[in-house]
Symmetry: C2
Subunit: 289 residues, 2 copies
């Protein structure tokens, strides 16, 4: 039997299948934050494997973009959620960074402004949806409206309770519009977060990323976990399933999300658009020019 | 005497100085489209040299971004102009692609919509300016309003004639706001454009990029050249000078623009923000948590 190549997905199949959250109740404690599902190599091999995904991911992205320029409505939307320091930015830098920035539409959602609040929680999300052929990336998303909003009592329970169904309807609508969502929860342990906060304090080039409020937020870890479990359970329909990414190991997290993106592209299988002009006639015109 | 290393700028100094358009009348015929100013290596060495710029460019970009998160108003705006096929997209893909996409704000300007037209030609440009700490990239820009608008008589001569001064005032305002502009004209020869159009026709993966109208536009090459010369001459103030990038060789073009960006970053010299909290107290809090 041939030795399995480092970085190759498990023989059982695709990473999309392996990391998908099964329907039903979700207990995040049962998801190992240090796993390297689908990858059997070392950290160094993981970094090499990530870079090796670049050409294929980039090629698919350009095909999708080209399709979008010629009438296709399809696009991809990567949603990144996770506790502070879970590495949403790192995934964008190292994974999305493999793609052409012209085809990306990245939005980082902060606390909503008063204007945004008045317009309903999905309004600003709709403004940020990727256009045809683009790869949208949400660093946080409408899920904050059932996470921090729930944990911090920013709205009354009946309000956030209704939102799960509103989100499901919204995401079904996006699927009908041709937006393929890839919702990733970057799953870290509380211990790993503590190490990462300490590391930020030790490195003067990372002080700007440190926010003392993050330590206060750690006291709400169990409440956030519960809110995430509810979101992953209630908004996990077939049109927009959730994936849990073991994220204690940064290199694995980056490889895994990028691999999920690649597999999503493969499913979409975008094609180079056919010429909408007479190729031979144009060759003659250019040559005669 | 030590042999000059491939990719090293000429001993005379910086590429910013070498490629800057001197004040006064501009004759584009005097700018060699195939030059490799400041670079003495081969094509392959040029590609390696471009990738080698990645870590430094990326580090500066993150410092600028970090500053922007902590109160600095500074940003960089790369403006790319050039004839069809001159490679504005290629520069973004290969040069800007070295940076973290989270810190980029890329805008591609097409023909203005009726709403945009009603609001004056600078309105949509202002909407697309990079926020603090970001690197903005314009694929075409307000210069189209003195280029195609002039060549195609989209507005009366007194209208486009006034725009040079309006642009100068606008760009001076941006400089005061902390936006450092890097305006690059990607200079190709008419013969090179012909080769590139023919190459697009020969490659089915590039048919989507081919537009028969581009061949018609070639008849206006002299008029566009004249319009570019006027723009480069009239809007070349010290706050926002023009750079002419010899662009018949794609690898050189990508290396040159990225090098200009790197030198611009070096001039700005962004610094990691100092902690705005008590580092030792925070270390204790995290450790005790």
């Amino acid at each position: 039997m041939a030795k399995k190549k480092a970085g190759e997905a498990e023989p059982s199949g695709r990473l999309l299948d392996a990391l998908r959250v099964p329907a039903g109740a979700v207990d995040l404690g049962k998801f190992d934050t240090r796993a390297a599902t689908g990858f059997s190599g070392t950290k160094e091999e993981g970094k090499v494997a990530l870079d090796a995904l670049g050409p294929e991911v980039s090629d698919f992205q350009e095909r999708l973009y080209a399709e979008g320029r010629k009438g296709s409505r399809r696009s991809v939307l990567l949603v990144l959620q996770g506790m502070d320091t879970s590495g949403k930015g790192g995934v964008i830098r190292h994974g999305a960074g493999l793609m052409d920035p012209q085809g990306l539409r990245i939005t980082s959602f902060k606390a909503p402004t008063p204007t945004e609040k008045r317009r309903g929680f999905l309004w600003r999300i709709r403004q940020a949806l990727p256009g045809p052929g683009l790869v949208g990336i949400f660093d946080r998303s409408h899920y904050e409206d059932v996470l921090i909003a729930r944990v911090r009592n920013l709205v009354a329970p009946p309000v956030w309770n209704r939102r799960y169904e509103q989100i499901n309807e919204f995401e079904a609508e996006l699927a009908e519009q041709g937006i393929t969502m890839l919702k990733c929860f970057l799953h870290i342990s509380s211990e790993e977060q503590k190490l990462r906060l300490a590391a930020r304090l030790d490195d003067p080039t990372k002080h700007w990323k440190y926010n003392p409020g993050d330590v206060d937020e750690r006291e709400l870890w169990p409440a956030y976990t519960e809110a995430y479990e509810a979101a992953l359970e209630n908004c996990n329909g077939p049109a927009a399933p959730w994936y849990v990414i073991p994220s204690d190991r940064k290199w694995y997290r980056n490889w895994a999300v990028t691999t999920l993106l690649l597999e999503t592209f493969r499913d979409l299988d975008p094609q180079w658009p056919k010429a909408d002009f007479d190729i031979e006639a144009e060759k003659t015109r250019v040559a005669a020019d």
